[in-house]
């Protein structure tokens, strides 16, 4: 596994009827990486994915896959495959038929062997003759994965593949998917609006907003050293006190005044099991949320608190 880039977008733009969907986006996806496009709905992440898949053509810019130009080619001439948001399994075909579909169109050899191998990989052996309607949500998602993986794409494109699952299952599938990616070694380009999902699974995250990439980096880097206010606010909770950004875990709450502390009044609490978030209103009207270990301090609403932090935890970001 080399460290070169398998996929590159160079200054790609796409408009829909004058509306900018993707503006001047450049990305480099290293081979074998789990690369996420993260952003709120309408930020251009899905359009970016569809540009790589070939369902849309860019107005400007170039897309390169394995050193050759990809843009301009129809979807069926690109060695990338997609796992669709609602899986888009063919309802008239069985699990086997769905997985064979691509192999038949590529006139591949050893279809039966390859189908069997991929069925084992996604733990669907024995379900070959089921129809998609007879499968659970998790199984359907694995058929969609198998159908794409069996073609050994250079990049697997995943469009919010976990959003159709119920929350209970989502966390489990998250770990399975990450494990599968590592085992198979396929490059993932993963679109999600769920920051927790992106942080948990990705090697790299590109945070997008309004058609543009705000920041690209490893999850820790993006969380701890956000490049813009948007990135800081979109990933996790961010307090803005006196113009500087502070994570809830950077704030200390005490009953007595400390050096450089700010006085506030507790307004509410959010209990999250192992930790508690305590919301307070400062004297200048700013609201902040501080993380406290559960049981360590029993602050009650209406109580006066003093909030302090280390200067090194302050994030100074341009508006």
């Amino acid at each position: 596994m080399g460290q070169e880039n398998v996929l590159e977008l160079r200054r790609v733009s796409k408009r829909f009827g004058g509306q900018l969907a993707v503006g001047d986006v450049s990305l480099s996806v290293p081979r074998g990486a789990f690369f996420s496009l993260l952003g709120p709905s309408g930020c251009g992440k899905t359009t970016t994915l569809r540009l790589v898949a070939g369902f849309e053509q860019p107005d400007q810019g170039e897309i390169w896959l394995n050193g050759s130009r990809l843009d301009g080619l129809p979807p069926y001439r690109r060695n990338v495959n997609t796992v669709f948001q609602n899986y888009a399994l063919f309802p008239h075909l069985t699990v086997q038929g769905n997985i064979e579909f691509g192999l038949r169109h590529k006139a591949a050899n050893g279809i039966a062997d390859r189908v069997r191998r991929v069925l084992d990989q996604v733990r669907l052996a024995g379900k070959e003759s089921r129809s998609p309607a007879q499968l659970s949500g998790g199984e359907r998602q694995r058929v969609a994965l198998a159908r794409a993986l069996v073609l050994e794409p250079d990049v697997l494109l995943l469009d919010e593949p976990l959003s159709a699952l119920d929350p209970q299952l989502r966390k489990q599938v998250r770990a399975e998917l990450k494990e599968l990616q590592r085992r198979v070694g396929v490059t993932f380009l993963f679109v999600t609006h769920d920051q927790e999902e992106a942080l948990a699974m990705s090697d790299y995250i590109a945070v997008m907003s309004r058609g543009a990439v705000e920041q690209i980096g490893a999850p820790e880097e993006i969380y701890h050293r956000p490049a813009t206010r948007f990135v800081a606010s979109f990933l996790g909770t961010m307090n803005w006190i006196g113009g500087v950004g502070l994570r809830p875990e950077a704030l200390r709450m005490t009953r007595e005044a400390a050096v450089n502390s700010r006085r506030g009044v507790v307004t509410g609490k959010t209990f999250l099991g192992s930790v508690v978030y305590v919301e307070s209103q400062l004297e200048n009207g700013e609201i902040c949320s501080a993380q406290a270990v559960n049981g360590a301090a029993n602050f009650t609403p209406g109580e006066v608190v003093h909030i302090s932090w280390n200067e090194s935890d302050e994030l100074r970001l341009p508006e």
């Binding site: 898949a53 070939g54 369902f55 129809p74 979807p75 069926y76 495959n81 997609t82 669709f84 948001q85 609602n86 888009a88 399994l89 063919f90 309802p91 008239h92 579909f101 691509g102 169109h105 590529k106 159908r147 794409a148 073609l151």
Partner: protein, 246 residues
């Protein structure tokens, strides 16, 4: 209660017709069960010939309408046009007599340039024309429940546009195509008004023969032939309803 009344109003005449088709007498007085009129039917050259004509016309028109209508419905779904879909509904509500007269005028105009005459082919074209709208409406309704991602998935997995249409969209549409074809068949086989206007001397259809016979007076053979038609069409309609819901 009202529904029951309406239902009776619709179907009692058909029931009476069916009962009297088995009557031994030629009058509307029950004189015992007999298959006499069905036997007479089998002997009547004119009725049989026109029934065969009707079948040929209905099958050919259905095939034409099903193919063109499926492609048209698909195209309309891909790139909708208010004008085209509007004109489709217009053709559904246009009085038959107007459709017939306009088709006749159209054929006469064509015949000035091509040396053809009215005949089976004009009836087939006319039937394909007026059943096309039914097919498109059924196909369009089915396409509205189609997830466009299915076609994209086929392209993504290496199928060309044509292969995606053939291997994903057509199987999805299959029950609707069958239902639409049966609908086209039923409107074709019993059409009288348009057919009588555009038919030539060699293309007497079953409804035309029945109409001519009925005008000559009471003939229980008509009860028999009508019963057969109702039963056959009933089966077709039931099948198409079942397919449409599949």
């Amino acid at each position: 209660m009202y529904a029951l009344g309406a239902y009776a109003f619709l179907h009692v005449p058909l029931l009476i017709l069916a009962i009297f088709s088995f009557n031994a007498s030629r009058f509307t007085v029950w004189q015992g069960f007999s298959l006499h009129w069905y036997a007479a039917l089998a002997q009547d050259r004119e009725l049989i010939e026109s029934a065969v004509n009707s079948l040929i016309i209905a099958l050919a028109a259905t095939a034409l309408a099903a193919i063109i209508g499926t492609l048209a419905g698909y195209a309309l779904w891909k790139r909708g046009s208010v004008w085209i879909s509007g004109s489709l509904y217009l053709s559904l509500v246009t009085p038959e007599i107007i459709t017939g007269v306009s088709l006749l005028a159209f054929f006469q105009w064509i015949f000035r340039y091509l040396h053809l005459r009215l005949g089976m082919h004009t009836v087939i074209l006319a039937h394909a024309g007026f059943s096309l709208a039914y097919v498109v409406v059924v196909i369009l309704a089915r396409m509205r429940t189609f997830d466009p991602a299915l076609e994209e998935a086929a392209l993504d997995l290496g199928a060309t546009e044509f292969a995606a249409f053939r291997r994903v969209t057509i199987p999805f549409l299959a029950p609707a195509i069958a239902a639409a074809a049966m609908l086209a068949f039923t409107v074709s086989i019993d059409d009288y008004v348009i057919t009588s206007l555009v038919a030539g001397v060699d293309s007497q259809t079953l409804p035309m023969t029945i109409y001519a016979l009925a005008r000559r007076g009471v003939n229980p053979m008509l009860n028999a032939v009508s019963t057969i038609i109702v039963v056959l069409l009933g089966i077709v309609v039931l099948l198409s309803e079942r397919l449409r819901k599949a």
